[in-house]
Structure formats: C-alpha cells, structure tokens
C-alpha cells in the first residue's frame, strides 16, 4: 500500500474511533496532553510537538494491579486502542521500553498485552520547542519507523503513510477516504520535514560532541558536574515522571477487604531511599550521586546492555524541572571536560 492523501482527517479518525478507543492531543495551558477522542472532532488540537505527558502512560500506567492473592485473579484483558499525534521521539521511547518489557529474557505480561493492542498514529513535528533536542540523539523530527500510520499535515490536507501491515489494512479497509498521494504532495512533505530538521539543527547548534555520548558520560564518572548540577535539585522527581523512557517502579502490597493486592507504581531513582537496603546502607546518598546514576543509566549502562540510548531528546525533563536542571547543560558540561586521550605514536 502506497502513501495516501486525504483532504479531511475527521472521517479517518472517526473510522479509527469506531474500531477502538482513540486518544488525541488537546491543548492545555502551555502544552499538549492526550485525551479521549470526541467523534467528529478531527485531530483534537494538532500538536506541533510532543505532548507534555509521556507515551509510556499508555503501556506502563502510573499504577497497576499486578497480583491478587491468596486467590489469584485473572487481570482484565486489554482492549485495542489507538493514539493519534505521537511524535518520532515517542516512537523511539516506545522502542526503548520494548527492549525492557518485551524483548528482554522476561517479557512483562501487562506491558505486552497493551503493546499488542496499541495502534500508533504518528505525526510530523513542526516548529520544535525550545527544549527539543532529539536531533542530538538520532531523532529526525518526523517518524522514521515504529508507527502503524504516519501523518503529515500539509497546507491543505494530510498525507498518510502506512508503516505496518496493521496500518496498511486500515488504509485498504477505508479506501474510499483516500486518494494516492501526488508527487507534489510528497514533495511538500519533504520540504516541511527539511524545515523542521533545520530548525532542530539551528536550535541545538551549540551541542557538538567530541566523541560518542556514552564514551563521554562514562569517562566523566568522577566529574564534579553532577554535584554542581544537582545543587538546585529539590527531589521533585518530575524529570523521571515525564521521561518517556524511565521505567523504574516499586511493588506496593495492600490489604483489601477480602484479599491482598500487589500494585506496581512508578518510582524514581532520584528519590533518596530508592536504592537503600534494609540495614540502612545507601549506595547513592547524595543528590549528585543520584543524578550521576541517572545519566550513567541513560547514556552508558542502558546502551551497553540494550544497544540504544535511554534518552530520546524529547526535552520533557527540561520543561518539567522544578530545580531548573537541564540535561542538555549536563551533557554540554561533560563534553567540555572530556579530552580525547593523546594518540601514542606508532613505531615505524
């Protein structure tokens, strides 16, 4: 199935909403959040950039029942759902979570169930935000993979590209809504995408890494930058909450009327007692230690283990920070400190 064009997105989203629960972006005070779709309402408020809240909420909710005992209860089966307005950074963050919850030795049954039922409709970014730095971490500003459908908003109308058999089947099943995209429309898409790429490059022109980020971050393990940058941290943990790839959780036991429950709740490695053991020992007592661990996990440990960075450059943590900590500044400072080892002369 080829890329298609439609002048009106409303019937497309209505068709999706007929088949499954659909979420679309809505404008909040100064950001976007996903809300359930109201039929006939097109794409909600079209989001030029990613929402404020992370896409992980759809797959790995803030709080989730994972076990009931003594009498085990079957968890409710997930239902098909679609999300419209996911961005490239969202898709890449889902790919990161897939590594942990799906492709790892232990598949997480709850994540897997939701993931199998998720239909992803991505849209291109336009006019990136001040905190967007995805281009530094391999992002393009438009979806490059991991979507069922990728939608580009043109001056007039929409271009839709399928990315999976699921996406193709949807387009094929609603052929009357679409025409084949013309060369002119595809050219307009290319132009818009180039413009976004250029905006991202210009916005982050001051970040020029001397080596692979993982090499720099690991090399600067002993750097004073972590303590220095953590000095204004108020331990609000917002950075880890809004982060689309952070996936720490704790298991909470609760007595109910007739039985007991075990819930899984988001946790944060920035929390003081996060890694403390029962005897009181705590490997990361200081904020700087915890900030360093967060950076090491994102750029070194995760990369070493799973082959990708655990940061997609969405900039949500920058926007959410109560203490004004900026992950781009930390990376830039570590990069400044980094010196490549002097080359030793090779004997002739």
């Amino acid at each position: 199935m080829k890329t298609v064009f439609t002048s009106d997105l409303t019937p497309v989203l209505d068709a999706l909403a007929e088949r499954m629960k659909l979420f679309v972006p809505r404008r909040g005070a100064d950001h976007f959040v996903f809300k359930p779709y109201i039929p006939g309402d097109a794409g909600g408020d079209f989001n030029n950039i990613r929402t404020c809240t992370p896409a992980k909420e759809f797959l790995f909710p803030l709080r989730e029942l994972t076990a009931v005992f003594p009498e085990p209860a079957q968890p409710p089966a997930a239902e098909p759902f679609a999300v419209f307005g996911l961005k490239d950074c969202d898709l890449r963050s889902i790919a990161v979570l897939d590594k942990v919850f799906l492709e790892d030795e232990f598949e997480d049954p709850f994540y897997a169930e939701r993931r199998r039922h998720m239909f992803t409709v991505a849209t291109d970014c336009c006019d990136p935000g001040e905190s967007c730095f995805c281009n530094v971490l391999g992002g393009a500003g438009h979806p490059e993979g991991g979507f069922d459908l990728a939608v580009t908003k043109l001056k007039a109308g929409w271009v839709i590209e399928p990315g999976t058999p699921k996406g193709e089947a949807f387009l094929a099943g609603h052929g009357r809504l679409f025409a084949a995209a013309s060369d002119a429309q595809l050219a307009e898409r290319d132009t818009l995408r180039s413009r976004t790429r250029e905006q991202l490059a210009a916005g982050n022109a001051d970040i020029r890494f001397k080596a692979d980020i993982g090499v720099i971050v690991q090399d600067r393990y002993e750097s004073a930058v972590f303590d220095e940058q953590a000095a204004t941290c108020v331990e609000c943990q917002a950075c880890t909450r809004v982060c689309p790839t952070c996936h720490c959780f704790y298991l909470h036991d609760e007595a109910r009327t007739a039985d007991f429950a075990k819930d899984r709740i988001w946790d944060s490695c920035m929390r003081l007692s996060y890694a403390a053991v029962a005897g009181g020992a705590n490997p990361r007592k200081y904020l700087g230690d915890r900030l360093r661990h967060r950076m090491m996990h994102k750029f070194a440990y995760f990369l070493e283990r799973y082959g990708v960075n655990m940061c997609v450059g969405c900039g949500r943590c920058v926007d959410a920070e109560a203490g004004g900590i900026d992950i781009r500044v930390i990376l830039r400072r570590l990069n400044e400190e980094f010196t490549t080892p002097a080359r030793t002369k090779v004997a002739k």
Partner: protein, 273 residues
C-alpha cells in the same frame, strides 16, 4: 495471560527458630512445588504489608519446605519477626543466578562468611556436602560479632565440623562466656595456605565491609578475579531486571546476580556501598 512474574505462590510459615538475638529462621511450606538453585533468591511477601528479598538457607534438595533466615534490619523484616507459625506468606521467584556448583567440581571451595551471610552459605554448604567427593575440599572461615551471634550454632559447633572433606574455623569479633576459639575479624583467620589457590574457588558472603576486606585479602593471596564469587546485597524488588532498584553499574543484581565474580564488577566504583 501469563503473569507469574508478579504472582506469589501461597505458603505457610510452619516453624520459627531463634538463631541469634537478631536473626530468626522461618520454615516455610509452599502450597505448590517451588524449586530453586543454591544462591538464588526469593521475594517473600507478608500479605498486605510488603515484601523483601532473601536467599533461602536450606538445601535445594529439600523440596517440600524451605528455610529462610532473616535478620531484623528494616520495616518488612521487623514485621516478619513478629509473625507466628501458621502465618500466610507469599513467595515469588526464584530469581537470579546462584552459585555455579558444577563449575566448582574438582576444586577446593574456600568459603568466607560472616553474620547473616551464613544463610546463603548454609544452602551452598549443604549442597556441597551432599556430593563432597566432587570437590578437593570445602574450607570454611566464618565470623560473627560474638559467639551468641553465630547462626546455625548447633550444626556449626558440632556435626558440620566432623564431616569428611570439610574444614571449618570460626572467629568472633568479641569473645564472652566460655568461648575459647579465635578472636578477631574473619580476615584475621585467612591464610594463604588454607587452600591451593591454583586449584580453588572462593565464595564470600557477609556484611559489605567484611566482603570488601575479605576480597582484598583474597586478591593479596593471588586469587584470580574470576574465581572470587561474591553475593551482592542490593535492594532487589521486582526480581527480573526491570524495576531498577538493584542496579550495580549495567547489571541488575536480581537478574545477573546476586552471585557475581569479582572481575564482573571490579571496575565499578563503590561496589561495597
């Protein structure tokens, strides 16, 4: 849907043994068969109250029940210490990689333990003595704060020391009563000729400070880094390498450990914190 990762197996506490002023052993009978390998750990749930990770102290060969020695150290362990027999508990697991006993065959096994660290060691010890002929020797050096603080006193002061192929020496930080044995920290009774290092593996389990200095001593003796087996204590929660609490560098202690060889982790700073 498969959801056994999070679902505890129901179990009953059938007996509680006072081991020391701060440590009790809980004999637990799971409702359904629950197998583990020595050195692996389980998450023990006190329903509605919380859960914590423990390495069983019983032999994996004993399948109808399991023994778990618990030091009163934090919130959940304090609650467990208040439990009486017949309490319902839950067990999740087993998790992680334990001691590679088969790799120890044909070698001297040099075991250094202290305090509640003797719990995983007891499980290993019972596994080793079941097939003691497979090993050149089983040499144990155990320490405790005082004679009363030794756990498994009955076995340790008596029958274990009489076993063929087994050599056990004990020490206490502070003597009292009729203790006529060695006094000093456990590293003070380690000697380079305890085992033939060229043909030995070392196992260390105990409080972090003891593990740190015991490892240092073993390195001084010339033990190869990949033949020092360490049971790392971290805040293991989920048990399958996702929740993040027990990270040690790139490793999840719950999944890649809890038993590590020193060479796996030596490059990470502050591994003993």
């Amino acid at each position: 849907m498969k959801h056994t990762l999070y679902q505890p197996v129901n179990a009953r506490i059938v007996d509680i043994i006072d081991e020391s002023p701060t440590i009790k052993s809980f004999v637990v009978v799971p409702e359904t068969e629950f197998k583990f390998e020595t050195g692996q750990f389980v998450e023990l749930t006190l329903p509605g109250r919380g859960e914590a990770p423990f390495t069983p102290s019983s032999s994996p060969a004993m399948t109808e029940k399991m023994e778990i020695s618990i030091m009163k150290a934090g919130r959940v362990t304090a609650l467990l210490h208040e439990c009486a027999p017949d309490t319902l508990v839950g067990i999740r697991g087993p998790y992680g990689r334990g001691y590679p006993v088969d790799d120890f065959a044909g070698k001297h096994v040099y075991i250094i333990g202290g305090g509640v660290g003797l719990a995983p060691i007891r499980s290993l010890f019972l596994t080793l003595v079941d097939r003691v002929g497979d090993f050149k020797s089983v040499v144990c050096r155990f320490g405790a704060r005082s004679p009363q603080d030794f756990i498994y006193k009955k076995a340790l002061f008596g029958p274990w020391r009489k076993l063929d192929g087994v050599d056990i020496e004990l020490t206490v930080d502070q003597a009292n009563g009729d203790w006529d044995g060695h006094v000093g920290v456990v590293t003070s009774i380690l000697r380079p000729d305890d085992v033939d290092i060229a043909d030995a593996v070392a196992v260390v389990c105990g409080p972090p400070i003891m593990m740190k200095f015991a490892t240092k001593k073993l390195l001084e003796f010339g033990f190869p880094h990949d033949r020092i087996y360490l049971s790392m204590e971290k805040n293991m929660s989920c048990g399958f390498g996702k929740c993040g609490h027990c990270m040690l560098g790139k490793y999840y202690v719950c999944k890649d450990g809890p038993v590590f060889t020193y060479d796996q982790i030596e490059t990470y700073p502050n591994i003993w914190d």
